[in-house]
Symmetry: C2
Subunit: 408 residues, 2 copies
């Protein structure tokens, strides 16, 4: 037998890292900005016209994007074709909560194509949540196989999640501990699965597609039935920390001799500021942030105002800390924290101006989250898109024989 003179490793030819980077750059730009002309892309990337042409050509071949006729906008010079992301490149999103598991399908470009909320009678266990998600995904299977290229599944969990291995370290409100949800759902569905903290993903979602679009430094706070979650984007990158647990702003110290928190400390923001008392004052048993806001505006009273003011006071303390530490451009509030902000507009901003330091607080603005109930889907999908966005060609080539129309 003749030994092959030179061993042909893995792929036919790995692309240069430079090419990979540029493809990734273009793909991310199109994904996050939605619609850009080729001329705009050359300006944004700083690459040469001809290079962008070649790169876009490759992305068109890979069916990542398509070019459409120039927009009608009157401009001197030859019109530049518009580059659109193909929503058939998609990611699945899963968000377990205490009363439901929501499954979504999000296309490249960040549009939610499909969202299925599965209400549960009881708080789902990790196993139940995975089973529900797997079943719903199985139901969509034929459609997915026929019309989409699914890049993976992202799971947004309200709790501490180790992003590297997808293990839920502790989700107090779900009662989960050390659950390897990413592996579990991966085995159940066959898709690559990743998990992360819900608020961190929310921060990324609002940064890319919502109230924080175009910014670089953002603090996101979500208030829900299961407490207050936080996510922080610094210099365009989500803060992850050593194990991916970063961002727990809900457990900022805001009160001496405050109540004990389930986290083991006392005086946490989450124990002083919660939506249950607001629901009581509003006179409704439950509902979403919109319901709460309406009810509170209807039942306006001194008691309500006082409670809103009290909660904003504590929120202000946590936020001034965060502003001093991060010097952000934007603070984005979701859930009942967004309601608090909306009920007393300007209050938080004036608290920050008076209490935070001059420099760090200069430029900060407070926003209400813009993506509503789509946020978790978009954020979780971003997690699943991550690998694809960092190497589009490679990720598609590694796809389990989706549509391979070339001879090997």
């Amino acid at each position: 037998m003749m030994p092959s003179p030179t061993r042909n490793t893995v792929a036919i030819s790995e692309p240069d890292p430079s090419r990979r980077n540029n493809l990734a750059l273009l793909t991310s730009l199109v994904h996050h900005n939605g619609v850009l002309s080729r001329a705009q892309l050359t300006k944004r990337t700083g690459l040469n016209r001809s290079t962008v042409g070649a790169l876009i050509g490759q992305l068109v071949n890979l069916e990542v994007v398509y070019e459409a006729a120039p927009s009608g906008e009157a401009q001197v010079g030859r019109p530049s074709p518009i580059v659109h992301p193909r929503p058939s490149i998609a990611a699945l999103a899963v968000n377990p909560e205490i009363d439901a598991v929501t499954i979504g399908l999000v296309g490249l470009g960040g549009k939610v194509q499909k969202k299925i909320r599965f209400d549960t009678e009881r708080i789902p266990t990790a196993k139940e949540a995975v089973n529900i998600a797997a079943a719903v995904i199985e139901g969509m299977r034929s459609e997915l196989d026929a019309s989409y290229q699914v890049m993976g599944v992202g799971i947004a969990v309200p709790g501490l999640v180790n992003r590297d291995d997808g293990v839920v370290r502790h989700a107090p409100h779900l009662g989960w501990r050390d659950e390897p949800v990413a592996r579990m759902l991966g085995e159940a569905t066959g898709y690559p699965c990743h998990a992360a903290n819900d608020a961190s993903l929310g921060a990324e979602g609002e940064l890319l597609f919502g109230a924080g679009a175009g910014q670089k430094n953002l603090i996101f706070l979500n208030g829900g039935a299961s407490g207050i979650g936080g996510g922080i984007v610094a210099d365009g990158e989500l803060l992850r920390g050593t194990s991916g647990y970063a961002g727990e702003l809900g457990h900022t110290f805001v009160r001496s001799s405050g109540k004990p928190c389930h986290c083991g400390a006392t005086g946490c923001l989450e124990t002083e500021v919660s939506q249950s008392s607001l629901f009581e004052l509003a006179g409704i048993g439950g509902g979403d942030a919109g319901d709460l806001e309406q009810a509170l505006r209807r039942n306006s009273s001194e008691t309500v105002d006082a409670e809103v003011a009290r909660q904003l006071e504590f929120l202000g303390i946590a936020l001034r800390n965060a502003v001093n530490i991060f010097n952000p451009e934007a603070i984005v509030l979701d859930g009942f924290l967004g309601v608090l902000h909306a009920l007393s507009p300007g209050k938080l901003d004036s608290l920050l101006r008076s209490q935070a330091m001059d420099g760090p607080a200069d430029q900060v603005k407070t926003y209400r989250a813009a993506l509503g109930s789509d946020l978790m889907m978009i954020g979780a999908a971003e997690l699943a898109f991550a690998q694809f966005l960092s190497d589009p060609a490679g990720a598609l080539a590694a796809l389990p024989m989706g549509k391979v129309d070339y001879v090997r």
Copy 2:
């Protein structure tokens, strides 16, 4: 007149960004790790043997590094030459404080070559500090010109500094407001000058050369006469924020109805934890952290222990917040905070284990700063090295005719 057919822009030929990146990568590795063999460099960079060979060759030509005989360590195979940073590539460091201005010269590799402390009778104004620094630098001029390639000057200021334009927004303890120190010193010396917050630079220094070496997520806190400064490194990058004001951990809220702070808020860490009461209890009027520690150990008493415990308690609150938010691997304490930590070893760690959340606090360890009085010099120099490290060849070519031994 004949118009030149093709306009020759700037440099003779700009190198490919890829080459620039690789040169920068190698230079940073050698600078931060000090001594590495060529074989180690190929492994660390992932580049090809021959490529690293060519790159090192260029760096040797540029006199950025030199190769020395292989270390005596017995290894199978051909020995690999050791690559050393040339300390003649240097940066100047300036650190104004309330009672002195310190000027230093730091070589590539992070070794402090020279340090001159200029004591002042009064708190220096910005103008005075700049004059002092300029005069001292002028004194070293001939030596600098003869034996060094100075890449610039870094100024470490205890206060809010806009890193982009080098303007000190507010340095409360120095009494400075809106002082463009970088521009001022730049005009006085002719060197490119940059300024940043002292604690941020301290964080970078300890990360690269001190107690946090090799880590990716680190919180640095320095306690001095002018309060408590903080710097945060997340994912290997110093947190800067929108304007470079990030890191103000000294103004973390730690106490309800606490004393008012000069920053405008109440209950800040800096008002509850300060070194003045410790100096009183120690029975000495002043001195550095070492003096304080010795005196406190000599004068040990219940009163001292109680005060140390009280201060650690508040420090613990600020740190648990920070740990919950950042999920760091290391906390590095300098100045009197390092003394507090050393006097009651394990106290902070146990506070963190009990009060911070399980996940984020898992891996965190508390250290005392390792670089002592060199820290500010090293950190500030790093600021001045930054541009050189990101484009060694370009920075040297742009140097004002240092040693140009080729014909143009």
